[in-house]
């Protein structure tokens, strides 16, 4: 890329634009604010496309577009950006969801300046985390990405928003407190002391982290990130948080931020402490299984559309974690693809719920009904997203879930086979809650005469939906390029895990 710092540009663009909006644009000019936010997220999307174009797919397992600048050399702190296949995929995911999130927030008029500033700070921070390969910067940007959530939910949320915002922030920050300790332990456990993720991986492979050390610190790091990935029993912030958050925030949070947690589990905990990962894998598998089954049963029991989707996220993130727990190439591939697929799908869900709620002013299923008659476009999009949710072939979740289940089933371990079989039962519950939502909300007679006046999606609303569903279908029908990318990037990880004595 001829030395152009494209990765810095991608994360700084929304970040700086957010600050610029806050500093220079007058409060009243919500139109200019919207357009500037769209421009920033659009430019990041374009730069991401450029990134895709210039990426060297033959070496997807290696860091590309590397930028390095020492910040505090005596403590190993370095501004070190780069992208391998996994990072690239996550950057694409974030770019799509940030862009569609801004479009989905087109109607935000109340304190729009602060809203878009925070949204852009959040999006920029997430870009930064996915491309940081120094643990200090990684951690700092991780917190920068999580904190705007407090105000975004607290100010623009619905329902018990202040409670949800506080609960979410404290739980996620509590998780990150453990991360801080884990990162310092990794730093002082390695010789020479380093915070560079790949250097630390080399240290791990050279046996610098004793088994005792790994068994102690792996759960600290994995749980620290696991809180954000909604690992049971630390998922309780997620339903409340998602239900209270405004549309775009739910999209970004369920779509990307939860992936930050899963990404951290993979990139830091498993990659750097492989012996610990092997030791704790059965425990994680059990927790992930609870996630999957409990999440889907929880979703089936809810009547609020947002709670249904939030619990389904808990269930689907369980699949990501189960894929990781297999510590096997197939399962890891599935986990990463599921991160992407779930991000796109859940963002679509939350965008649709936002549109429905904006019209009907209720998200309670008993009060809704027959909406397909008045808003066929939204209904059709909801059906497609719902089908992705239950893993219909041809949509992006299918290959991902398939890989996770196969990965778990084809490990040598009988234990994982049992786990895979139990996890499969969740598909029944998933079908139940997805179809129930579709039937109650969109089909049947119209329950409220006022609903007859409702309009279908506007052009601004259709754009994000079309973009998201296109990605869902393309990846679902032809997942191989994406899988090749993931596979190459998972290879170093699998090598780290596989080189261990069994």
């Amino acid at each position: 890329m001829n030395g152009f710092p494209i990765l810095s540009a991608i994360w700084l663009l929304p970040f700086v634009m957010g600050l610029a909006i806050m500093a220079f644009v007058p409060d009243k000019d919500s139109k200019a604010i919207r357009w500037l936010a769209l421009a920033a997220s659009g430019c990041s999307l374009l730069l991401t496309a450029l990134l895709l174009f210039h990426f060297d797919y033959a070496n997807a397992g290696q860091l590309q577009f590397v930028e390095r600048f020492p910040l505090v050399p005596e403590l190993g702190v370095e501004y070190h950006l780069g992208a391998d296949g996994i990072s690239l995929l996550m950057v694409v995911l974030n770019a799509i969801i940030l862009f569609t999130g801004v479009l989905a927030s087109w109607g935000v008029k109340d304190r729009s300046k602060e809203f878009f500033t925070l949204l852009l700070l959040l999006g920029g921070g997430v870009f930064g985390v996915f491309t940081s390969f120094n643990l200090y910067v990684f951690f700092a940007l991780y917190e920068v990405a999580v904190l705007p959530m407090y105000l975004l939910i607290g100010i623009w949320g619905t329902g018990p928003k202040e409670y949800s915002a506080m609960k979410l922030t404290l739980m996620l920050m509590g998780g990150s407190a453990f991360l801080l300790l884990g990162i310092l332990a990794l730093y002082y456990g390695s010789t020479p002391h380093t915070l560079d993720i790949f250097e630390l991986n080399r240290a791990a492979q050279a046996g610098q982290f004793s088994p005792g050390f790994q068994k102690l610190w792996f759960p600290v790091l994995f749980l620290g990130f696991g809180v954000l990935a909604a690992l049971w029993p630390f998922h309780t912030w997620s339903p409340d948080g998602h239900a209270s958050a405004p549309t775009a925030v739910s999209m970004l949070h369920a779509g990307v931020l939860m992936k930050l947690g899963a990404y951290g589990c993979l990139r830091v905990a498993i990659f750097l402490l492989p012996v610990g990962a092997h030791f704790w894998a059965p425990v994680i598998a059990v927790l992930a299984l609870v996630n999957i089954v409990y999440g889907s049963i929880g979703a089936a029991a809810q009547t609020d559309l947002k709670y249904v989707t939030a619990y389904s996220s808990v269930s689907h993130m369980g699949l990501v974690l189960l894929g990781m727990a297999t510590l096997d190439t197939l399962g890891l591939n599935g986990a990463v693809l599921q991160m992407f697929a779930h991000g796109i799908m859940t963002a679509t869900f939350f965008a649709l719920i936002g549109m429905t709620y904006g019209r009907t002013h209720t998200r309670l299923m008993p009060k809704l009904g027959g909406l397909a008659q008045v808003m066929p476009f939204i209904a059709a999009a909801y059906v497609i997203a719902g089908m992705a949710g239950l893993g219909l072939p041809g949509l992006s979740s299918f290959p991902a879930e398939l890989l996770v289940f196969l990965g778990a089933y084809f490990t040598q371990d009988v234990f994982f086979k049992v786990v895979a079989v139990i996890a499969l039962t969740s598909i029944v519950f998933t079908a139940l809650y997805v179809l129930r939502v579709l039937q109650k909300t969109f089909y049947g007679p119209i329950t409220d005469p006022q609903f007859k006046e409702l309009k279908d999606a506007t052009l601004v609303e259709r754009m994000p939906l079309v973009l998201l569903i296109t990605v869902m279908v393309v990846v679902g029908v032809y997942p191989f390029p994406v899988l090749k990318l993931i596979d190459a990037a998972v290879l170093p990880l699998a090598r780290t895990l596989g080189s261990l004595p069994k």
Partner: protein, 484 residues
């Protein structure tokens, strides 16, 4: 005797005399507001001159004055810079705050402010228990008067002054008793002599008692639980610029004493006093953070917050490494700018409406700039990136984990873990402050008046909070020069 090494101290003394005579010369009833600017300019000039000097060559023996009563070493220099910066910001904060509260004794106020600064500078550079104690008393007496400067306007101000005086006297007595035992055992008052004597000294009960008494006296100064009792009342009742100055400078002076007396002189007895400090730290983390959750008054909340912050600072002292010491000094610097910024905003907001937490309601609408600065300060105190408090805490925790992991001091490691967990509790009350400003709607929509002096102080603080958080390298290398 080389009096040149005391030039900064003499400069501050001259500034004090200048203020004193200017006050005398001015006719009665004339405005003395300009004295605040005189102090600010004076402190700024002295600070610039001190910063321009290279660090003194400490090895083998640092330059001294008055036969070793005063040591002009690099550690003293770093603290001098801290005190001067804090004094500069406090003067700027006072210019309009005193007018707003209608303080009658402005000439005396500024004179005391300068003298307190001088006392702390001498305190941080003293090389003898005697000069140390005299400087400590000069500092404390100055603060007793400053705290109650609102006498006649506010009853609680006088009450806080008395309370501070009595508790402070008890702490001084503990310290002095400890010093007297040390003198009785060793026969010397100079810190160097004590250090030499302590190398071969036995762990006699008298020695342990002396160390315990000294630790308790110093814990009062930096306000560790259970020696923090004075802090909430005094912080609440004192004029806000004094509270701000007290919370940063007085704490830094306590740190200087801890480093000088315990860390440098009684290094061989580290096993004794660091256990005491660790118990105090654990108590501090629990008590300060939990009690802060319930506070309705902003200044009381900040008082408990600063008690908790003192606990974090102790991690570096207990670690006892040069990394730990650097971390302590760095965090003290960050804490200075952060707390100064927070108190400055609190002062401006509470001119009308008082310092209740609910007074912040709707601040984000009324004065977005002030709200943003308080948000920055509060997040920095909570240790959230990209602000200085995050790197400072990271640095302190790193020093603790290094000792805990590589030197096998498991208790220290556990304590750092505990500190990290309790910092999440502290996040709750910091978020409550943010909630008041950003989420709660306010009744009053008029922007908060922000005079020039306050703007200047806030500007300096905000820039420093960001610099220390995003690119701390220059400041770290400055510290490294001082403490290789």
């Amino acid at each position: 005797m080389n009096l040149q090494v005391m030039l900064p101290e003499f400069a501050v003394l001259s500034l004090g005399l200048l203020v004193f005579f200017a006050d005398l010369a001015a006719p009665e009833g004339a405005s003395r507001r300009y004295l605040g600017w005189v102090c600010a300019l004076g402190f700024a000039a002295i600070l610039a001159a001190v910063l321009a000097q290279p660090f003194p060559q400490d090895l083998p023996i640092p330059p001294t004055a008055f036969g070793g009563l005063f040591i002009a070493d690099s550690l003293g220099r770093v603290f001098t810079v801290l005190f001067l910066a804090a004094a500069l910001l406090a003067s700027l904060a006072s210019v309009d705050a005193l007018e707003a509260r209608g303080v009658r004794w402005q000439g005396e106020y500024y004179f005391l402010l300068v003298m307190v600064t001088l006392a702390m500078m001498c305190l941080a550079s003293s090389g003898d228990l005697l000069s140390l104690y005299v400087a400590l008393e000069l500092n404390s007496l100055g603060f007793y008067a400053l705290v109650s400067v609102l006498k006649g306007r506010s009853l609680v101000s006088s009450e806080a002054g008395i309370k501070y005086l009595i508790l402070g006297a008890i702490a001084s007595a503990l310290l002095l008793y400890g010093f007297s035992i040390l003198y009785g055992l060793s026969g010397t008052l100079s810190l160097q002599g004590l250090a030499a004597w302590a190398q071969g000294a036995e762990h006699t009960p008298a020695m342990l008692l002396a160390l315990a008494l000294v630790t308790a006296g110093l814990a009062f100064k930096v306000s560790l639980v259970p020696f923090h009792m004075w802090a909430p009342d005094v912080y609440q009742a004192a004029p806000t610029p004094v509270t701000a100055y007290l919370s940063v400078a007085s704490k830094a002076a306590g740190l200087a004493l801890l480093v000088r007396v315990l860390d440098s002189t009684f290094r061989d007895f580290a096993g004794v006093w660091d256990k005491l400090l660790m118990v105090l730290m654990a108590l501090t983390f629990v008590w300060a953070n939990v009690v802060a959750l319930k506070q309705k008054d902003l200044k009381r909340l900040m008082a408990y917050s600063s008690v908790a912050q003192a606990g974090y600072l102790m991690i570096g002292i207990v670690a006892g490494t040069s990394l730990g010491l650097q971390a302590v000094l760095f965090y003290a610097l960050v804490y200075l700018f952060t707390n100064m910024a927070a108190f400055q905003v609190i002062q401006l907001v509470s001119v009308k409406g008082g310092p209740e937490l609910s007074g912040l309601k709707g601040l984000a609408r009324r004065s977005p700039g002030l709200a943003l600065i308080l948000l920055t300060a509060v997040l920095s105190l909570a240790g959230i990136p990209p602000f200085g408090g995050f790197f400072g805490k990271y640095f302190l925790f790193a020093a603790g984990v290094q000792e805990g992991l590589l030197d096998g001091r498991g208790w220290l490691l556990a304590l750092v873990g505990f500190a990290v967990v309790m910092s999440i509790v502290s996040l709750f009350y910091y978020l409550v402050v943010i909630k008041q400003m950003y989420i709660e709607p306010g009744e009053d929509n008029a922007p908060v008046e922000t005079p020039v002096a306050a703007r200047l102080a806030l500007g300096i603080c905000t820039v420093m909070i960001l610099v220390t958080g995003i690119y701390p390298s220059p400041i770290l290398s400055w510290l490294k020069q001082a403490l290789p």
